[in-house]
Symmetry: C2
């Protein structure tokens, strides 16, 4: 375990206390993996270029010239600077390796090799090291060297093609979904490689190769086999589902939206009652889920008309009274007002030197005995240089100052 | 480790060999966690109700009366039947517990408690047991007991509200995104709890509480802090991004779509060259990313016009020649044809007793030394009853037959 000295210890409650992660990531995907592991008490030392810093620092939303996104993704992390493109930086990285279980990186493939920091080199210094590599297209294959932008990787996954409305273009996620997903896969794979090394006891590291496009592709379980066995090419169908009806988002009189998922006969009957039209569930057009899927246009028109006359509150009251599976579509304002979010403490307040406290999402998921914690928001580049290089690594004052002046750190 | 006898061993290459998972999940979210762990060699024993089976068995796409989705989500699993609502089934479950590291379930909260199978009961029998619980809203809070449909949980996450086009309703994922995500969080949290128990050495189990809505909410890093600090409520903006321009999906002459992400000045200049309009990058309306975001309507019109005159192949050729960050939007047909998917072996052929072989997505991500494998597609309910109950558990022939006749198994 890294010895930060007593005052730096803050990982009491996480299950991963004692796991040492060296986070060389930039922007979102790699650093997300570090963030997810840090939430649970892993000791995450995040490396930034001494001059440019992490690109996420310049990414909106910004307040007073500081990226709010950074405050979240860099939370809990110990921040040091190091220029890996310089020979002395590379040498320093190798000296660090014995302190770490995991090196996490998301440079373009071959970059680490160009710096003499490929897995073969790293494992010579520390055969136990687990090298977790995140990239747009993975470390192998004809597209490996392309720059790994989330948008393009998402396009390749097959998902946007069937997302959204038939009269609109394919629809992308409006946040960094594939990057975050790849980060989650990387965090999970880190733990699997640690299990193999430490619980099964091989004692050996290995390389984890995570790509953005495969992370999303993997989650769509029926897409490949559906095409292989039945030739199904999923089409854009708005918020309807081919399997289920009614399933849609309906607009209320006050311009809000409510989502309904009422494919089962039992729930559809309840919906019909809630709408004051119990006869609908006997109507031959709508008397089974299969019939409703066939007659979805007519059914959706009837359901939509009912919603158009009611406010969100009134519609939800009637649906809840009838135990229909329904829910309002929240924007972030509603998330902040919701009693369930509050009861689960999904939004936490975190101390921050720039803004006093900032609110952000809490630790997910919830572990009963070792829940993890967020002890600080993302700090300035190099905030822990002295503690790490002088304290943990034992650099002399002269060496530290020299490296600093040379902009190696 | 469960002793299945020699002929049942098939987990040679996974990092999780020796990890024993009892998968009580139904449909998607819970079973997805089992699937992800089974891919990497964990021994996953999946329990189904002896009469009804898993609801996913009736979920489309179906071929010859069999769910193709099931073939994927139940891959690698050992399949047994057990009625947990019967006292003898509950007693049998407790007898099983010593064989397992993890119990995975996604019943509605309080169901396991009603059956006398809450964590307190389970941990009395096996204090090392890790209980991983997946539900729509989590185990606590005012909405805990609501049925946990993916659509409604997604609505609550805040994401659909800002996904899609401003002149269309909020847009949902067109596959089981939140369920799959919750499954991935559950798999990851399983490994963290195992680490705490076995590597840090507490020797104790705990409860992991995963919810569908929090799984998606967690991944949108800047949403909470953006509202907290700046009052930002993200709006639907189609495939444009507030941060980046041009970023969109453009239609080609042959009706295909290409995604572009060219926010940086360097890449925008290349795009302008590829379009034969190098002067655009000097145009004061488009001379910086900030200016382009302001004038996105005009810019998108110019870019869209260029694409309208070219086929997908021709447009991609020109973009690649200029090193622009761009990619075609794939549907599943194109995924099957793509050389990079082929080189990465992202689509694998798996032996299946019903259909000979079936193709499905491979193991994600890629671990160099212990890659995992898929040894079989999802089989029939109870396919491994004899091996498990007689072989592993040591039930006598009489006891097995009695339980079978009582429909306990």
């Amino acid at each position: 375990m890294l010895d930060w000295g007593e005052k730096m210890e803050s990982q009491e409650s996480g299950p991963l206390r004692g796991l040492q992660i060296l986070d060389l990531g930039n922007m979102i995907a790699g650093p997300m993996a570090g963030c997810l592991l840090g939430d649970f008490g892993a000791d995450v030392v995040k490396v930034e270029h001494p001059i440019t810093g992490d690109d996420l620092r310049n990414w909106p939303p910004m307040k007073d010239g500081r990226s709010l996104w950074w405050k979240v993704t860099a939370r809990n992390k110990k921040l040091i600077t190091l220029d890996l493109s310089k020979p002395r930086g590379q040498a320093l990285l190798k000296r660090m390796l014995t302190h770490f279980d995991v090196v996490l990186e998301n440079f373009r493939p071959r970059t680490m090799e160009r710096w003499g920091l490929g897995y073969d080199e790293l494992s010579k210094t520390n055969p136990r090291i687990i090298m977790v590599r995140v990239s747009g297209y993975g470390q192998t294959g004809p597209y490996a060297k392309r720059p790994g932008y989330g948008t393009i990787a998402e396009a390749m996954s097959g998902v946007p093609a069937f997302t959204g409305f038939p009269d609109k273009p394919p629809t992308f996620s409006a946040f960094a979904l594939v990057d975050a997903l790849a980060g989650l896969f990387a965090a999970h794979a880190t733990m699997m490689a640690v299990y193999e090394r430490d619980v099964r006891g091989s004692g050996k590291g290995q390389v984890v190769d995570v790509s953005l496009y495969e992370s999303l592709f993997r989650l769509v379980d029926s897409q490949v086999i559906g095409f292989d066995q039945l030739g199904i090419v999923k089409q854009r169908n708005g918020n309807r589902m081919d399997e289920d009806s009614p399933r849609n988002a309906y607009r209320t009189a006050d311009g809000e939206f409510i989502a309904i998922s009422a494919g089962s006969q039992r729930i559809f009957s309840r919906l019909a009652s809630a709408m004051g039209m119990p006869e609908l569930s006997e109507d031959p057009r709508f008397s089974s889920n299969a019939r409703r899927v066939e007659n979805v246009e007519e059914l959706d028109r009837i359901v939509a008309q009912w919603f158009q006359k009611l406010s969100l509150v009134e519609a939800m009251r009637r649906l809840e009274d009838s135990d229909v599976v329904a829910g309002p579509i929240y924007d972030i304002r509603r998330v902040f007002e919701d009693p369930h979010y509050a009861a689960r403490e999904d939004i936490i307040s975190v101390p921050d030197p720039d803004f006093g406290t900032v609110r952000m999402q809490g630790v997910v998921p919830k572990l009963s005995r070792t829940p993890g914690r967020v002890s600080q928001a993302g700090l300035d580049a190099g905030a822990h240089n002295i503690e790490f290089y002088r304290g943990v690594m034992g650099l002399t004052a002269d060496e530290f100052e020299e490296l600093r002046q040379l902009r190696v750190i």
